[in-house]
């Protein structure tokens, strides 16, 4: 079942892209004219360098907090670890809008805005990956070097940095992949001047209606992403392999360290809190003070949309619920198969949408499901299906470790006591994996709710989702439209959080807590 779903809704769109880019009038025709054109080269170059610079900045910005969390225990450490993840799960349109709100006029749509937004997103990746690796490093070499007279700077350069290299490389490659395939941030903050491969696919397909050029760019993007994924996968494996034994227990910071830890934690979290906080403040800003005007007007007709923003909110809730349902229906069996070890190939297949970018997926949908046998353009189904496809890998990823941690002998014990295989799943797997299931459901819902890259291709104009509505508002001039966009962003953020909490409460209830 998961296989059939993936074959139809993932493989087919890719085939459609290949066909559109490589076949012209029934003959094989490499789109060399598109690929070698100066504008394509320009876009490819910008895509690459902005991703590289974003990566370097994100790694540098993430290191202080990674250090503090890895080396020390302090009150609120777990909270800091949780808070730093928040930007990572925020929808891209929300982050982009937050930077529109935060940055002063003039640079709010510029390369700087793009780079800062990418750093904001990816600090979490650096802190999590590097931090956990760092805490596993043996601290004795560090102490030994200190007794030999090496100062802190010297020790960091000659000991810590080389030891961290695998984690840094893994984190950098993942951040690079995210920035390379970044869509919403570039589309909103890049304005008309800056385009990456990803946004250019959208521009060509949805604005210029040049499907052949868009397909050729998608092909290029596919190859580039495959390359980055391959490199990232290698680095990740190396990270897993060279993991050292448990390092020294984290200690309370003392003396001057205390100040540095405070600066690292407070500074990082403070800076990360700034964009969302500004967003909330600006959504409440009205001429001459604060008020709920922007929110009140969400129920009114607007020239930016064919329906009221309120409808967009309802659409989003509906689509995200359906999408989360599909993602669970596909992801749960896939995770079960992956855990049984039956599905090495299936595992990879389910993970593929993670590598394929969202815009590519959306564009592929546009090409594949526009004609018979499967003409879904007129229906609303393309949106939740696309969202489910984006969310499924996360469902599998979060569920598989939970299922794997269930001792197989518990299943055997239940079987010997007379429980049939379905009964074993209900009586043993379900209660023990309930927490993981709740997390997966919440994650799927949150991802579907915030999904923008694929949705913007396939959403019907009279059925916009929240992120699409925000994008439309931002595309129109005037403070009023920006204010509405910001109000919608706050609604989106709240719904995402509410969905995650509700899933945890409902599905996680009765689950066994270790």
């Amino acid at each position: 079942m998961p296989l059939a779903f993936l074959a139809v809704f993932f493989a087919w769109p890719l085939v459609a892209i290949l066909e559109r880019s490589l076949v012209l009038d029934g003959r094989l025709d490499l789109p060399l004219d598109v690929l070698a054109s100066s504008s394509t080269l320009e876009v490819a170059w910008f895509t690459t360098w902005q991703a590289a610079v974003s990566t370097v900045l994100a790694v540098v910005a993430g290191l202080p907090l990674a250090w503090a969390i890895a080396r020390f225990s302090f009150p609120g450490r777990r909270l800091a670890e949780a808070l730093v993840l928040v930007p990572f799960v925020l929808p891209t349109v929300v982050v982009a809008t937050a930077f529109v709100a935060l940055l002063p006029d003039g640079i709010e749509r510029s390369v700087w805005a793009i780079l800062l937004a990418h750093v904001f997103f990816n600090v979490a990746v650096v802190v999590r990956l590097v931090g956990s690796y760092w805490s596993g490093l043996d601290a004795r070499a560090w102490d030994a070097a200190a007794t030999l007279g090496a100062g802190p700077a010297r020790r960091f350069r000659s000991l810590t940095l080389p030891a961290l290299a695998p984690a840094l490389a893994a984190a950098a490659s993942i951040v690079f992949l995210f920035c390379f395939t970044s869509f919403g941030v570039i589309l909103i903050l890049g304005g008309p001047r800056y385009a990456t491969l990803e946004t250019e696919i959208y521009n060509q397909a949805a604005r210029a209606f040049d499907l052949r050029t868009a397909a050729a760019l998608a092909l290029l993007q596919l190859a580039a992403v495959a390359l980055v994924v391959a490199v990232a996968g290698r680095l990740e494996r190396r990270l897993g392999g060279s993991r050292s034994a448990r390092g020294a227990r984290a200690q309370r910071p003392g003396g001057r360290e205390r100040a540095w830890v405070a600066v690292a934690v407070g500074g990082t979290l403070g800076l990360l809190a700034l964009p969302p906080a500004t967003l909330v403040e600006r959504s409440l800003a009205v001429p001459g003070g604060h008020g709920l005007d922007h929110y009140r007007r969400l129920a009114e007709q607007t020239p930016a949309l064919l329906v009221t923003p309120w409808h967009a909110i309802l659409n989003s809730l509906l689509f995200a619920t359906i999408a989360a349902g599909i993602a669970l229906a596909v992801g749960i069996p896939a995770a079960v198969l992956a855990v049984r070890g039956a599905g090495g190939a299936l595992d990879t297949l389910v993970m593929l949408p993670l590598g394929a970018s969202a815009a590519m997926l959306g564009f592929g949908f546009l090409l594949a499901f526009a004609d018979p046998p499967l003409d879904l353009r007129g229906t609303i189904w393309l949106v939740p299906i696309a969202q489910a496809l984006v969310a499924t890998p996360f469902v599998v990823r979060s569920l598989a470790p939970t299922l794997r941690s269930v001792d197989n002998r518990l299943r055997e014990a239940a079987a010997v006591l007379g429980a049939s295989p379905p009964r074993v799943r209900r009586e043993v797997d379900l209660p023990l994996a309930a927490r993981g299931l709740a997390v997966a459901a919440g994650l799927a819902f949150a991802i579907a709710l915030g999904e923008f890259g694929a949705t913007v291709f396939v959403a019907r104009a009279d059925w916009p989702t929240l992120p699409v509505a925000i994008f439309r508002f931002l595309g129109r001039p005037g403070a009023e439209n920006v204010g509405q966009a910001m109000a919608l962003c706050v609604v989106l953020m709240s719904l995402t959080a509410a969905g995650a909490i509700a899933a945890d409460r409902v599905l996680g209830r009765g689950g066994w807590r270790s």
Binding site: A414, V416, L417, G418, V428
Partner: protein, 338 residues
């Protein structure tokens, strides 16, 4: 009665069981003894229906159940470390099999309290399994396996993760329980003393084959070959023109004299084990109950009671193993350090 015939299991291209047959009769406890890696647990999993055999049959009270899945076999299984359901109370663990079977709540409650009393944990229904000690958890696991009245009880090293007095007490309790309930039991262990204490008969498994099945007394007096003899702890192997013989340690008497030297004196509970070397000959182990044993270095003499000398067959696999460059299994047994 459970009977296994010609069981063959291959896992990952390795033959774990190679034509094993054994039988535990009605109300009989069969101890399945063997070193780790000999295939004991795999054989038990075949009996429970958790591991399908590549060849062979499993018969329960005469009916072929080889293809019957685990949940329809009606056998009980206790793992080495309890494996209780962590999300259920003690009472719900014990009652699991009854609930799955569809017993009424009142019947279930009565049976659960009956079984908890039987294993010495009366009134523990509401306890969280996380609060149980190792020995208590194992008792709950036993009650859980017994609750649905299985036709045969399979125990996979149930005492191996317990230590000291606790282990001995549970071993005695098991012995009494099996007798009182007239249970058919297959008890897997790597511990010779445990096998002898619990098994009416003992099947010795070696590298996926049964080396010998006999009562403890027969096993001790007539080990099938030198490997079995050494696995049981007999170290006095004599090889001369007459063939291979084993001298049981209690048949070796140390007497005053001057043609042997005492190498070591080792008190093991009620017995004292002396290691002596005959001048120009082999080492022998002597077991005595004396309280005035000689000391290491003393010159002594040795008399051997002919009743304690047993002819044994050569290790049937020694040559093959030597050809493969493998050490003799008995050499790396943790039970009898040299």
């Amino acid at each position: 009665m459970i009977r296994l015939e010609g069981i063959v299991v291959e896992l990952g291209g390795v033959r774990i069981l190679d034509g094993v047959g054994l039988e535990a009769g009605e109300a009989e406890t069969l101890a399945l003894l063997g070193p780790s890696g000999s295939g004991k647990s795999t054989l038990l999993r075949v009996a429970a229906g958790l591991q399908p055999p590549a060849a062979g049959r499993v018969l329960l009270d005469g009916a072929d159940i080889t293809r019957v899945p685990a949940h329809r076999r009606g056998v009980g299984l206790v793992f080495q470390d309890a494996v209780l359901f962590p999300h259920r109370t003690v009472g719900d663990n014990v009652g699991f099999g009854l609930r799955v079977r569809g017993d009424a709540v009142a019947d279930r409650r009565r049976r659960v309290s009956e079984l908890l009393e039987l294993v010495g944990l009366a009134g523990a229904e509401q306890r969280d399994v996380g609060t149980l000690s190792g020995g208590e958890a194992q008792r709950v696991a036993l009650a859980r396996a017994l609750a649905p009245s299985p036709r045969v009880l399979l125990l996979d090293e149930p005492l191996a993760s317990l230590d000291g007095p606790l282990r001995d007490r549970l071993r005695d309790d098991l012995h009494d329980l099996f007798a009182a309930l007239r249970l058919t039991v297959v008890h897997v262990t790597h511990d010779v003393a445990e096998a002898f204490a619990l098994g009416r008969r003992v099947a010795v498994l070696r590298d996926g084959r049964i080396a010998q099945t006999a009562t403890p007394d027969e096993l001790w007096s007539r080990p099938a070959d030198t490997w079995v003899a050494r696995f049981l702890g007999m170290r006095n192997l004599i090889e001369d023109d007459a063939g291979l013989r084993v001298v049981r340690p209690e048949a070796v008497h140390v007497v005053p004299g001057d043609d042997a030297v005492v190498l070591a004196v080792d008190r093991r509970g009620p017995l004292t084990v002396l290691t002596v070397r005959l001048d120009g000959a082999e080492e022998l182990e002597a077991a005595t109950t004396t309280l005035t044993a000689p000391r290491p270095g003393d010159r002594v003499s040795v008399e051997i009671d002919p009743d304690g000398v047993v002819d044994v067959a050569a290790d049937p696999y020694a040559e093959r193993e030597a050809a493969h460059g493998r050490a003799d299994d008995a050499d790396d047994l943790p039970l009898h350090p040299r």
